[in-house]
């Protein structure tokens, strides 16, 4: 099976290279059959990489430890679902998975758009396959997942070797969220290749109107949604698995996923200005190029080891490949952009600083500033080491100080944007629109302050959340009321129909509301408290309104791990509300035992009680418990669900009015008549 996988990878490389060459040559020679052949080769790449990944999955399932990657990331007693998720548990497999998803996207894009956009599609195919060729080259020559397990001995060639068992999957990855989080994240990263490919095709063909944006709008939203979900699931995993009580630590890996998300979010907003006003065409090109580059850069950042040390980059087997590809892709795209500048002139002009257009520009500015702050903070240790020769650390305190004010300003703009009219907002409309939300938000601020919310940023974040919520509710209310008066529908029907008639706008508002919920959840982190104690059976400890009592201490032994566990009764104001089962597991695979925490969480809308079994005392009679009281955390996850709902609404096609349907069918009939007469 490994040979089939290896052969599929080699074939994929040849077919992908052929697809790029055939597409470009076909365009140059205006040779339709060559272009079609390039397209078929792209579909062939999908078949080849699918074969390779199925082979890898099979090798994991049967625990074939003659393959180095399998031996390093699996063991016999690993449950089957973790064996499958081990495919993306290490560098070789995760890059293969990245490459495979790219071929899935490519195949879908080709099948959906080949007839509709016949001029652009050969270029789209060439760009997607060029990206695929880069990954296939790495699979084959740098990080091949089908390499054999060998023993290296001095003065002899490597000797093939089959270990009795594998080293096991990293225990931190043996978690349900880790099964789903990487695929979501990669679907997001890879998805941004589609708008990039269409943008490049639009520039090559000089078809620089709205077509490429309208064609890729849904693809971009889908990629953005997956990336958002991937990031949130990563947070959920960290919260459940790492046992430090939080869900976001500004780790370089987290930052790598946040950067393309921030630019992608800016792009999703600024395309609306291009669609509605024919403006910001160059800017949108810059954003789509940066989103794509950041997606690749994020993978480079986490996989090359460059953030640990500038020297790790040179030692990494993939650092050079990524750096070369990034330079070629960025310089190629920017050259094309400069060459096409005369075709990217704005169709309209900005009329006022106080307008919807300029609010989008400020929104873009703030999102890019946030991205730059994350990029700068993540790369500053590397810069410091390269310039001054001094290694430093840039961690959560830096990112929080820099990004929290930027994020709150962004929240403010989220509320302001919908209140401003396109072109120019008059003073009267400003007063009318801002007065009520502003006064209510400030009143909420006073109440919050008096009730003890005196952490400045948390207070400001909650005030802004209130402001944005009121503006969103007001938008729905205004629209639904007008509709209700006009059509006689009841209010709920009017809200539903209003949303279905302009899914993108109202879906967008739902997504904005999701961010309100996320901000509420994040604000709660300012009020986290924790405590720890050594507790024997029957002992208690208190944290805020809760009391925890250790009822039982025990052990468990499974083939995969052994564990110390406690049964802890949780009492709220003296009344029992839950039994919690925190664990300390020690995984057996590998040469050294690998301990991890399995935290127990009691979650309500008001707060989480988060219990970590930090270990047992040396006599084994007491458990060392660390307990966190995390206010409002549940709203982060609810916000994630609302975000998905909002994006799905925005992805729906608009429901047409009967008049518009009639108009469309009439114009179709007219078109048919003209075609009949012409023929």
């Amino acid at each position: 099976m490994a040979q089939i996988g290896q052969f599929a990878l080699a074939l994929a490389w040849v077919v992908t290279a052929y697809s790029v060459v055939a597409s470009l040559l076909g365009i140059h020679l205006k040779h339709d059959k060559l272009i079609a052949s390039g397209r078929n080769a792209a579909l062939g790449t999908f078949a080849c990489i699918t074969t390779a990944i199925v082979c890898l999955g099979y090798l994991f399932a049967v625990s074939d430890f003659s393959i180095k990657y399998i031996a390093a990331h699996s063991n016999r007693d690993l449950p089957i679902y973790f064996k499958v998720s081990s495919i993306w548990g290490g560098q070789e497999g995760s890059l293969l998975f990245w490459g495979w998803l790219l071929t899935v996207y490519s195949a879908l894009v080709i099948i959906q758009n080949w007839r509709k956009h016949s001029a652009m599609m050969p270029y789209v195919t060439a760009v997607l396959m060029a990206t695929s060729l880069f990954f296939t080259t790495m699979h084959l020559f740098a990080v091949n997942p089908f390499n054999q397990t060998v023993i290296l001995q001095a003065q002899t060639s490597p000797i093939p070797f089959v270990p009795a068992d594998g080293s096991g999957l990293n225990p931190l990855l043996q978690d349900a969220y880790m099964v789903i989080h990487p695929p979501m994240l990669y679907l997001g990263f890879v998805g941004f290749a589609v708008p990039f490919a269409f943008a490049m095709a639009a520039m090559f063909t000089k078809q620089l109107g709205d077509t490429w944006i309208r064609t890729t709008r849904r693809w971009t939203m889908v990629a953005w949604m997956f990336l958002s979900v991937g990031i949130l699931l990563g947070g959920k995993w960290a919260y459940h698995e790492l046992g430090w009580g939080g869900f976001w630590g500004w780790d370089p890996v987290e930052n790598a996923s946040l950067m393309p998300w921030l630019i992608g979010t800016a792009f999703l907003h600024s395309v609306m200005v291009q669609e509605k006003k024919g403006m910001l065409k160059v800017w949108n090109m810059v954003l789509v190029i940066l989103t794509y580059i950041m997606s690749i850069f994020g993978t480079f950042l986490t996989r090359s080891g460059v953030v640990n040390s500038v020297h790790a980059f040179a030692q990494s087997p993939i650092g050079g490949y990524f750096a070369a590809f990034l330079i070629v892709a960025l310089s190629g795209a920017l050259y094309l952009l400069f060459d096409r500048l005369p075709y990217l002139k704005s169709e309209n002009q900005m009329e006022s600083v106080i307008s919807r257009e300029s609010s989008f520009m400020f929104n873009n500015l703030v999102l890019l500033a946030a991205c730059f702050a994350v990029f700068w903070g993540t790369m500053f240790p590397v810069i410091s080491e390269a310039v001054k020769g001094v290694k430093i650390t840039v961690s959560a305190p830096f990112f929080n100080k820099v990004n929290v004010p930027i994020a709150i300003f962004l929240m403010f703009l989220t509320g302001v944007g919908p209140l401003l009219a396109w072109r120019k907002a008059s003073t009267n409309s400003l007063k009318r629109n801002f007065l009520m939300p502003g006064v209510l938000a400030l009143a909420t601020g006073v109440v919050l302050y008096l009730r003890g919310v005196q952490h400045f940023y948390a207070w400001l974040s909650l005030v802004m959340s209130t402001f944005v919520t009121i503006t969103i509710v007001r938008e729905f209310y205004k629209g639904a009321r007008a509709r209700s008066v006009g059509t006689g529908e009841n209010f709920v029907e009017a809200v539903v129909n209003l949303t279905l008639r302009n899914t993108r706008r109202y879906g967008g508002y739902v997504v904005h509301f999701a961010f309100v919920l996320l901000f509420i959840g994040w604000s709660g982190q300012a009020f986290t408290t924790d405590g720890s104690s050594e507790l024997g059976i029957g002992d208690t400890m208190a944290i805020r309104e809760y009391t925890l009592r250790v009822d039982k201490l025990g052990t468990e032994d499974t083939p995969n791990y052994s564990s110390d566990k406690a049964t802890v009764g949780l009492f709220e104001y003296g009344k029992k509300v839950a039994n919690m089962f925190p664990e300390r597991r020690v995984y057996k695979a590998g040469q050294e035992p690998q301990p991890t925490s399995e935290v127990a969480i009691y979650s309500t809308a008001k707060n989480d009680v988060y219990v970590v079994f930090a270990g047992a005392t040396t006599d084994g009679k007491k458990a060392i418990l660390q307990v966190f009281y995390n206010p409002l955390t549940m709203w982060v996850w609810i916000g994630g669900v609302v975000l998905v709902v909002g994006t799905l609404i925005a992805l729906l096609p608009n429901k047409k009015t009967p008049a518009r349907k009639r108009q469309e069918s009439e114009s179709k009939e007219e078109q048919k008549e003209i075609e009949t007469k012409v023929s």
Binding site: Q349, W376, S395, F398, S429, P595, G615, Q626
Partner: protein
């Protein structure tokens, strides 16, 4: 007073540990803040927290404790770069970029506005614009 003073001191000590520990990275290799590193049998976080407590007991200022930690564990022990010398760039650049970006947006908008202002405007246009705005306010958005 005699009874409460030691308790108040103990509370003050633990408050300072709580405040200061997020400024340091645990050196065990987990890359977590000293306040957050709680992994099993961590060889570093316990001694580092004890060290921090000792420094507080000696009555040292926050800056003096930070200097002591840098001297003992190296510059990588600080969770954020100090805002001085070359490291000042880390703190300034994001806000400088935001400021420069804001100026560029304003410049962009004003440049187009001034071009637009050069176009002769019909005297009645403002009146009609106001009317359009009023109509748009009542409009059911279904575009």
């Amino acid at each position: 007073m005699l009874v409460t003073t030691p308790l108040a001191l103990a509370a003050d000590r633990s408050d300072r540990i709580r405040e200061l520990s997020p400024n340091f990275i645990c050196i065990c290799g987990c890359n977590q803040l000293l306040s957050a590193c709680n992994h099993f049998h961590c060889p570093s976080s316990g001694p580092m927290l004890a060290d921090l407590g000792n420094q507080i007991d000696q009555g040292k200022s926050d800056n003096a404790i930070m200097a002591y930690f840098v001297e003992k564990y190296g510059t990588t022990v600080l969770a954020a770069p100090p805002a001085s010398g070359f490291n000042l760039a880390a703190w300034i650049m994001p806000f400088a970029a935001l400021g420069i970006g804001a100026l560029m947006v304003l410049f962009f908008v004003r440049r187009f506005r001034s071009r637009w202002a050069g176009v002769p405007v019909d005297g009645d246009l403002t009146k009609y614009q106001q009317k359009v705005e009023e109509e748009l306010e009542k409009f059911t958005p279904e575009d």
